[in-house]
Subunit: 221 residues, 2 copies
Protein backbone atom coordinates (compact mmCIF):
# COMPACT_ATOMS: atom_id res chain seq x y z
CA UNK A 1 0.00 0.00 0.00
CA UNK A 2 2.71 2.45 1.01
CA UNK A 3 4.82 1.36 -1.94
CA UNK A 4 1.88 1.88 -4.27
CA UNK A 5 1.65 5.51 -3.21
CA UNK A 6 5.33 6.02 -3.89
CA UNK A 7 4.92 4.48 -7.33
CA UNK A 8 2.06 6.82 -8.02
CA UNK A 9 4.12 9.87 -7.09
CA UNK A 10 7.04 8.74 -9.25
CA UNK A 11 4.70 7.97 -12.15
CA UNK A 12 3.20 11.45 -11.87
CA UNK A 13 6.71 12.88 -11.84
CA UNK A 14 7.68 10.93 -14.95
CA UNK A 15 4.61 12.12 -16.87
CA UNK A 16 5.53 15.76 -16.22
CA UNK A 17 9.20 15.04 -16.92
CA UNK A 18 8.07 13.85 -20.37
CA UNK A 19 6.24 17.16 -20.87
CA UNK A 20 9.39 19.06 -19.86
CA UNK A 21 11.44 16.99 -22.31
CA UNK A 22 9.03 17.75 -25.14
CA UNK A 23 9.07 21.47 -24.30
CA UNK A 24 12.87 21.52 -24.25
CA UNK A 25 13.19 19.58 -27.51
CA UNK A 26 10.67 21.81 -29.25
CA UNK A 27 12.82 24.79 -28.33
CA UNK A 28 16.14 23.13 -29.23
CA UNK A 29 17.40 23.42 -25.65
CA UNK A 30 19.94 21.22 -23.88
CA UNK A 31 18.97 20.99 -20.19
CA UNK A 32 21.56 19.68 -17.75
CA UNK A 33 20.56 18.40 -14.30
CA UNK A 34 23.54 19.18 -12.03
CA UNK A 35 23.59 17.03 -8.89
CA UNK A 36 26.07 16.46 -6.05
CA UNK A 37 26.75 16.74 -2.32
CA UNK A 38 26.40 20.06 -0.47
CA UNK A 39 29.53 22.07 -1.15
CA UNK A 40 30.81 19.95 -4.05
CA UNK A 41 30.87 23.05 -6.23
CA UNK A 42 27.68 22.85 -8.30
CA UNK A 43 27.21 26.62 -8.35
CA UNK A 44 30.88 27.23 -9.10
CA UNK A 45 30.68 24.81 -12.02
CA UNK A 46 27.55 26.56 -13.32
CA UNK A 47 29.37 29.88 -13.02
CA UNK A 48 32.44 28.68 -14.94
CA UNK A 49 30.24 26.99 -17.55
CA UNK A 50 28.18 30.12 -18.21
CA UNK A 51 31.32 32.21 -18.61
CA UNK A 52 33.04 29.71 -20.90
CA UNK A 53 29.98 29.27 -23.15
CA UNK A 54 28.72 32.83 -23.25
CA UNK A 55 30.33 33.89 -26.53
CA UNK A 56 28.65 30.98 -28.35
CA UNK A 57 25.55 29.88 -26.43
CA UNK A 58 22.84 31.50 -24.30
CA UNK A 59 22.53 29.88 -20.91
CA UNK A 60 19.71 30.17 -18.38
CA UNK A 61 19.67 28.69 -14.89
CA UNK A 62 17.08 26.97 -12.72
CA UNK A 63 18.44 27.08 -9.20
CA UNK A 64 17.07 24.70 -6.57
CA UNK A 65 17.70 25.39 -2.91
CA UNK A 66 16.04 24.34 0.33
CA UNK A 67 16.73 27.76 1.83
CA UNK A 68 18.50 31.05 0.90
CA UNK A 69 18.83 32.71 -2.50
CA UNK A 70 22.63 32.98 -2.37
CA UNK A 71 23.33 30.71 -5.33
CA UNK A 72 20.59 32.24 -7.49
CA UNK A 73 21.90 35.75 -6.77
CA UNK A 74 25.48 34.70 -7.49
CA UNK A 75 24.52 33.39 -10.94
CA UNK A 76 22.12 36.24 -11.71
CA UNK A 77 25.13 38.54 -11.26
CA UNK A 78 26.44 37.04 -14.52
CA UNK A 79 23.56 38.79 -16.27
CA UNK A 80 21.71 35.65 -17.36
CA UNK A 81 18.10 34.59 -16.67
CA UNK A 82 17.78 32.73 -13.36
CA UNK A 83 14.67 31.14 -11.86
CA UNK A 84 14.98 30.24 -8.20
CA UNK A 85 13.07 27.23 -6.87
CA UNK A 86 12.76 27.33 -3.08
CA UNK A 87 12.00 23.71 -2.23
CA UNK A 88 10.93 24.53 1.31
CA UNK A 89 12.65 21.55 2.88
CA UNK A 90 12.35 19.08 0.00
CA UNK A 91 15.57 17.12 -0.53
CA UNK A 92 15.42 17.09 -4.34
CA UNK A 93 13.92 18.86 -7.33
CA UNK A 94 11.05 17.17 -9.12
CA UNK A 95 9.61 17.54 -12.61
CA UNK A 96 6.60 19.71 -11.60
CA UNK A 97 8.91 22.25 -9.91
CA UNK A 98 11.11 22.35 -13.01
CA UNK A 99 8.08 22.72 -15.30
CA UNK A 100 6.93 25.78 -13.35
CA UNK A 101 10.43 27.22 -13.65
CA UNK A 102 10.72 26.49 -17.39
CA UNK A 103 7.46 28.34 -18.01
CA UNK A 104 9.00 31.46 -16.47
CA UNK A 105 11.95 31.46 -18.89
CA UNK A 106 12.09 32.84 -22.43
CA UNK A 107 12.78 29.44 -23.96
CA UNK A 108 13.10 30.76 -27.50
CA UNK A 109 16.16 32.73 -26.36
CA UNK A 110 17.97 29.90 -24.53
CA UNK A 111 20.36 27.25 -25.86
CA UNK A 112 21.32 25.66 -22.55
CA UNK A 113 19.41 25.44 -19.26
CA UNK A 114 21.50 24.46 -16.25
CA UNK A 115 19.32 22.99 -13.48
CA UNK A 116 21.17 23.06 -10.17
CA UNK A 117 19.62 20.46 -7.89
CA UNK A 118 19.53 20.44 -4.08
CA UNK A 119 22.85 19.40 -2.50
CA UNK A 120 22.26 15.69 -1.93
CA UNK A 121 24.11 12.69 -3.34
CA UNK A 122 21.14 10.35 -2.89
CA UNK A 123 17.56 11.50 -3.47
CA UNK A 124 17.82 13.68 -6.62
CA UNK A 125 18.96 10.62 -8.58
CA UNK A 126 15.47 9.13 -8.42
CA UNK A 127 13.65 12.06 -10.03
CA UNK A 128 13.68 12.52 -13.79
CA UNK A 129 13.31 16.25 -14.47
CA UNK A 130 13.03 15.90 -18.23
CA UNK A 131 16.65 17.01 -18.62
CA UNK A 132 18.77 16.06 -21.61
CA UNK A 133 21.81 15.12 -19.51
CA UNK A 134 22.50 14.25 -15.88
CA UNK A 135 25.78 15.40 -14.40
CA UNK A 136 27.22 14.60 -10.96
CA UNK A 137 29.70 17.00 -9.38
CA UNK A 138 31.95 15.31 -6.84
CA UNK A 139 34.97 16.92 -5.17
CA UNK A 140 38.39 15.94 -3.90
CA UNK A 141 37.74 16.71 -0.19
CA UNK A 142 34.77 14.30 -0.16
CA UNK A 143 37.08 11.33 -0.72
CA UNK A 144 37.65 8.86 -3.54
CA UNK A 145 35.13 6.28 -2.28
CA UNK A 146 31.98 8.21 -3.20
CA UNK A 147 31.22 6.33 -6.43
CA UNK A 148 31.17 3.06 -4.52
CA UNK A 149 29.26 4.40 -1.51
CA UNK A 150 26.54 6.32 -3.38
CA UNK A 151 26.24 4.27 -6.58
CA UNK A 152 22.78 5.15 -7.93
CA UNK A 153 23.52 8.73 -8.90
CA UNK A 154 26.86 7.83 -10.50
CA UNK A 155 25.26 4.92 -12.37
CA UNK A 156 22.70 7.23 -13.99
CA UNK A 157 25.13 10.04 -14.84
CA UNK A 158 25.99 11.07 -18.40
CA UNK A 159 29.03 12.89 -17.05
CA UNK A 160 30.89 13.14 -13.75
CA UNK A 161 32.89 16.24 -12.90
CA UNK A 162 35.50 15.87 -10.17
CA UNK A 163 36.00 19.38 -8.79
CA UNK A 164 38.65 20.99 -6.52
CA UNK A 165 41.59 19.13 -8.08
CA UNK A 166 43.71 22.16 -7.11
CA UNK A 167 43.50 20.82 -3.52
CA UNK A 168 44.79 17.31 -4.28
CA UNK A 169 47.96 17.97 -2.28
CA UNK A 170 45.92 18.63 0.87
CA UNK A 171 43.89 15.39 0.73
CA UNK A 172 44.50 11.67 0.45
CA UNK A 173 42.58 11.26 -2.82
CA UNK A 174 43.36 8.71 -5.52
CA UNK A 175 42.04 10.09 -8.83
CA UNK A 176 42.80 6.86 -10.69
CA UNK A 177 40.80 4.84 -8.18
CA UNK A 178 37.87 7.26 -8.42
CA UNK A 179 37.88 7.13 -12.21
CA UNK A 180 38.34 3.34 -12.32
CA UNK A 181 35.38 2.87 -9.94
CA UNK A 182 33.30 5.10 -12.17
CA UNK A 183 34.25 3.19 -15.33
CA UNK A 184 33.40 -0.10 -13.61
CA UNK A 185 29.98 1.15 -12.52
CA UNK A 186 29.08 3.26 -15.55
CA UNK A 187 31.38 2.89 -18.57
CA UNK A 188 29.37 5.36 -20.68
CA UNK A 189 29.86 8.34 -18.30
CA UNK A 190 32.23 11.05 -19.46
CA UNK A 191 34.75 12.08 -16.78
CA UNK A 192 36.29 15.49 -16.19
CA UNK A 193 38.79 16.50 -13.50
CA UNK A 194 38.46 20.24 -12.96
CA UNK A 195 39.16 23.12 -10.64
CA UNK A 196 36.46 25.77 -10.73
CA UNK A 197 38.88 27.99 -8.83
CA UNK A 198 41.83 27.81 -11.25
CA UNK A 199 39.87 26.98 -14.42
CA UNK A 200 41.78 23.73 -14.96
CA UNK A 201 39.76 21.25 -17.06
CA UNK A 202 36.85 23.62 -17.73
CA UNK A 203 37.52 23.73 -21.49
CA UNK A 204 37.23 19.95 -21.86
CA UNK A 205 33.99 20.01 -19.87
CA UNK A 206 32.42 22.79 -21.93
CA UNK A 207 33.60 21.15 -25.18
CA UNK A 208 31.62 18.11 -24.07
CA UNK A 209 28.53 20.25 -23.48
CA UNK A 210 28.88 21.85 -26.91
CA UNK A 211 29.02 18.41 -28.54
CA UNK A 212 25.66 17.35 -27.07
CA UNK A 213 22.42 17.31 -29.02
CA UNK A 214 20.41 19.47 -29.74
CA UNK A 215 23.15 22.12 -29.74
CA UNK A 216 24.84 23.12 -33.01
CA UNK A 217 27.88 20.83 -33.37
CA UNK A 218 31.13 22.29 -32.07
CA UNK A 219 33.07 23.97 -34.86
CA UNK A 220 30.05 24.33 -37.14
CA UNK A 221 28.48 27.46 -35.71
CA UNK B 1 -3.99 11.02 1.20
CA UNK B 2 -0.33 10.93 0.23
CA UNK B 3 0.53 13.13 3.19
CA UNK B 4 -1.43 10.84 5.49
CA UNK B 5 0.75 7.93 4.47
CA UNK B 6 3.91 9.89 5.21
CA UNK B 7 2.49 10.80 8.63
CA UNK B 8 1.79 7.16 9.30
CA UNK B 9 5.35 6.16 8.45
CA UNK B 10 6.81 8.92 10.63
CA UNK B 11 4.47 8.03 13.50
CA UNK B 12 5.53 4.38 13.24
CA UNK B 13 9.17 5.54 13.27
CA UNK B 14 8.60 7.64 16.39
CA UNK B 15 6.99 4.77 18.26
CA UNK B 16 10.01 2.56 17.65
CA UNK B 17 12.36 5.45 18.41
CA UNK B 18 10.69 5.63 21.84
CA UNK B 19 11.38 1.91 22.32
CA UNK B 20 15.02 2.46 21.37
CA UNK B 21 15.25 5.35 23.82
CA UNK B 22 13.85 3.21 26.62
CA UNK B 23 16.25 0.38 25.81
CA UNK B 24 19.22 2.76 25.81
CA UNK B 25 18.18 4.44 29.07
CA UNK B 26 17.63 1.11 30.79
CA UNK B 27 21.21 0.19 29.91
CA UNK B 28 22.68 3.59 30.84
CA UNK B 29 23.90 4.18 27.29
CA UNK B 30 24.48 7.51 25.54
CA UNK B 31 23.63 7.08 21.84
CA UNK B 32 24.82 9.75 19.42
CA UNK B 33 23.30 10.10 15.95
CA UNK B 34 26.12 11.42 13.74
CA UNK B 35 24.83 13.12 10.58
CA UNK B 36 26.42 15.15 7.78
CA UNK B 37 27.17 15.38 4.06
CA UNK B 38 29.04 12.63 2.21
CA UNK B 39 32.74 13.05 2.96
CA UNK B 40 32.33 15.49 5.87
CA UNK B 41 34.31 13.11 8.07
CA UNK B 42 31.70 11.24 10.09
CA UNK B 43 33.74 8.02 10.15
CA UNK B 44 36.94 9.90 10.94
CA UNK B 45 35.21 11.62 13.85
CA UNK B 46 33.89 8.28 15.12
CA UNK B 47 37.40 6.87 14.87
CA UNK B 48 38.99 9.75 16.81
CA UNK B 49 36.19 9.63 19.39
CA UNK B 50 36.57 5.91 20.03
CA UNK B 51 40.32 6.28 20.49
CA UNK B 52 40.01 9.30 22.80
CA UNK B 53 37.35 7.69 24.99
CA UNK B 54 38.64 4.15 25.09
CA UNK B 55 40.52 4.34 28.42
CA UNK B 56 37.32 5.51 30.19
CA UNK B 57 34.29 4.39 28.22
CA UNK B 58 33.26 1.43 26.06
CA UNK B 59 32.03 2.50 22.67
CA UNK B 60 30.08 0.48 20.11
CA UNK B 61 29.15 1.61 16.59
CA UNK B 62 26.10 1.29 14.37
CA UNK B 63 27.27 2.08 10.87
CA UNK B 64 24.73 3.05 8.23
CA UNK B 65 25.68 2.96 4.56
CA UNK B 66 23.80 2.74 1.30
CA UNK B 67 26.53 0.55 -0.18
CA UNK B 68 29.94 -0.88 0.80
CA UNK B 69 31.24 -1.97 4.21
CA UNK B 70 34.34 0.25 4.12
CA UNK B 71 33.39 2.43 7.09
CA UNK B 72 32.22 -0.50 9.21
CA UNK B 73 35.47 -2.37 8.52
CA UNK B 74 37.56 0.70 9.30
CA UNK B 75 35.93 1.09 12.72
CA UNK B 76 35.89 -2.65 13.49
CA UNK B 77 39.68 -2.50 13.10
CA UNK B 78 39.69 -0.51 16.36
CA UNK B 79 38.56 -3.71 18.08
CA UNK B 80 35.13 -2.47 19.11
CA UNK B 81 31.67 -3.93 18.38
CA UNK B 82 30.30 -2.69 15.05
CA UNK B 83 26.90 -3.45 13.51
CA UNK B 84 26.63 -2.54 9.85
CA UNK B 85 23.25 -1.42 8.47
CA UNK B 86 23.13 -1.69 4.68
CA UNK B 87 20.25 0.62 3.81
CA UNK B 88 20.01 -0.68 0.25
CA UNK B 89 19.44 2.72 -1.31
CA UNK B 90 17.60 4.44 1.55
CA UNK B 91 18.83 7.99 2.11
CA UNK B 92 18.63 7.89 5.92
CA UNK B 93 18.57 5.55 8.91
CA UNK B 94 15.24 5.03 10.63
CA UNK B 95 14.34 3.80 14.11
CA UNK B 96 13.42 0.22 13.06
CA UNK B 97 16.83 -0.24 11.42
CA UNK B 98 18.54 1.06 14.56
CA UNK B 99 16.42 -1.17 16.80
CA UNK B 100 17.50 -4.25 14.85
CA UNK B 101 21.11 -3.15 15.21
CA UNK B 102 20.82 -2.41 18.96
CA UNK B 103 19.48 -5.91 19.53
CA UNK B 104 22.68 -7.32 18.03
CA UNK B 105 24.91 -5.46 20.50
CA UNK B 106 25.88 -6.45 24.04
CA UNK B 107 24.21 -3.40 25.56
CA UNK B 108 25.25 -4.24 29.12
CA UNK B 109 28.87 -3.79 28.05
CA UNK B 110 28.49 -0.45 26.22
CA UNK B 111 28.60 3.12 27.56
CA UNK B 112 28.38 4.97 24.26
CA UNK B 113 26.82 3.93 20.94
CA UNK B 114 27.84 6.03 17.95
CA UNK B 115 25.28 5.79 15.15
CA UNK B 116 26.79 6.92 11.86
CA UNK B 117 23.97 7.96 9.56
CA UNK B 118 23.95 7.93 5.74
CA UNK B 119 25.86 10.85 4.20
CA UNK B 120 23.06 13.34 3.59
CA UNK B 121 22.54 16.83 5.02
CA UNK B 122 18.77 16.75 4.53
CA UNK B 123 16.73 13.58 5.06
CA UNK B 124 18.28 12.04 8.22
CA UNK B 125 17.18 15.13 10.19
CA UNK B 126 13.54 14.04 9.96
CA UNK B 127 13.98 10.62 11.56
CA UNK B 128 14.25 10.25 15.32
CA UNK B 129 16.34 7.15 16.00
CA UNK B 130 15.84 7.23 19.77
CA UNK B 131 19.33 8.69 20.22
CA UNK B 132 20.32 10.77 23.23
CA UNK B 133 22.10 13.42 21.16
CA UNK B 134 22.12 14.54 17.54
CA UNK B 135 25.41 15.76 16.10
CA UNK B 136 26.06 17.30 12.70
CA UNK B 137 29.52 17.04 11.16
CA UNK B 138 30.22 19.78 8.65
CA UNK B 139 33.58 20.47 7.02
CA UNK B 140 35.62 23.41 5.78
CA UNK B 141 35.68 22.42 2.07
CA UNK B 142 31.85 22.39 2.00
CA UNK B 143 31.73 26.16 2.57
CA UNK B 144 30.55 28.40 5.39
CA UNK B 145 26.99 28.80 4.08
CA UNK B 146 25.77 25.31 4.96
CA UNK B 147 23.94 26.26 8.18
CA UNK B 148 21.84 28.74 6.24
CA UNK B 149 21.27 26.51 3.21
CA UNK B 150 20.38 23.30 5.06
CA UNK B 151 18.79 24.65 8.24
CA UNK B 152 16.68 21.78 9.56
CA UNK B 153 19.50 19.48 10.56
CA UNK B 154 21.48 22.29 12.19
CA UNK B 155 18.36 23.51 14.03
CA UNK B 156 17.85 20.09 15.62
CA UNK B 157 21.49 19.48 16.52
CA UNK B 158 22.76 19.22 20.09
CA UNK B 159 26.29 19.75 18.80
CA UNK B 160 27.92 20.76 15.53
CA UNK B 161 31.44 19.64 14.72
CA UNK B 162 33.26 21.60 12.03
CA UNK B 163 35.90 19.22 10.67
CA UNK B 164 39.00 19.66 8.45
CA UNK B 165 40.07 22.97 10.05
CA UNK B 166 43.65 21.98 9.12
CA UNK B 167 42.68 22.89 5.52
CA UNK B 168 41.43 26.43 6.28
CA UNK B 169 44.33 27.94 4.33
CA UNK B 170 43.22 26.15 1.16
CA UNK B 171 39.60 27.36 1.24
CA UNK B 172 37.69 30.60 1.51
CA UNK B 173 35.90 29.69 4.75
CA UNK B 174 34.85 32.15 7.45
CA UNK B 175 34.66 30.22 10.75
CA UNK B 176 33.16 33.19 12.61
CA UNK B 177 30.37 33.49 10.05
CA UNK B 178 29.65 29.76 10.26
CA UNK B 179 29.51 29.84 14.06
CA UNK B 180 27.45 33.06 14.13
CA UNK B 181 24.91 31.55 11.72
CA UNK B 182 24.70 28.50 13.93
CA UNK B 183 24.16 30.56 17.10
CA UNK B 184 21.43 32.56 15.34
CA UNK B 185 19.62 29.43 14.23
CA UNK B 186 20.21 27.21 17.24
CA UNK B 187 21.72 28.93 20.29
CA UNK B 188 21.70 25.74 22.38
CA UNK B 189 24.00 23.78 20.04
CA UNK B 190 27.54 23.18 21.24
CA UNK B 191 30.17 24.02 18.61
CA UNK B 192 33.55 22.37 18.06
CA UNK B 193 36.16 23.18 15.42
CA UNK B 194 38.29 20.09 14.89
CA UNK B 195 40.69 18.34 12.58
CA UNK B 196 40.29 14.58 12.65
CA UNK B 197 43.60 14.39 10.80
CA UNK B 198 45.74 16.40 13.26
CA UNK B 199 43.64 15.78 16.40
CA UNK B 200 43.03 19.50 16.95
CA UNK B 201 39.88 20.10 18.99
CA UNK B 202 39.13 16.43 19.64
CA UNK B 203 39.66 16.76 23.42
CA UNK B 204 37.03 19.50 23.76
CA UNK B 205 34.60 17.39 21.74
CA UNK B 206 35.13 14.23 23.78
CA UNK B 207 34.94 16.25 27.04
CA UNK B 208 31.48 17.33 25.88
CA UNK B 209 30.50 13.71 25.28
CA UNK B 210 31.73 12.71 28.73
CA UNK B 211 29.62 15.46 30.30
CA UNK B 212 26.38 14.10 28.79
CA UNK B 213 23.84 12.06 30.71
CA UNK B 214 23.64 9.13 31.41
CA UNK B 215 27.45 8.81 31.45
CA UNK B 216 29.35 9.09 34.74
CA UNK B 217 30.24 12.80 35.15
CA UNK B 218 33.70 13.72 33.89
CA UNK B 219 36.24 13.63 36.73
CA UNK B 220 34.15 11.40 38.96
CA UNK B 221 34.90 8.01 37.45
Amino acid sequence: MQIKVVEKILAANDAIAAENRELLEKNGILAINIMGSPGAGKTSLAEQTIIALRSRLSTAVIEGDIATRYDAERLAALDIPVVHIATGGECHLDAPMVKQALLQLDLAAADVVLIENVGNLVCPAEYDLGQGKKVVVSSVPEGHDKVEKYPLMFRLADAVVLNKVDTLDAFDFDVQRFEANLKDLNPRAAFFAVSCRTGQGIDAWTDWIRAQSPLPRAGEG
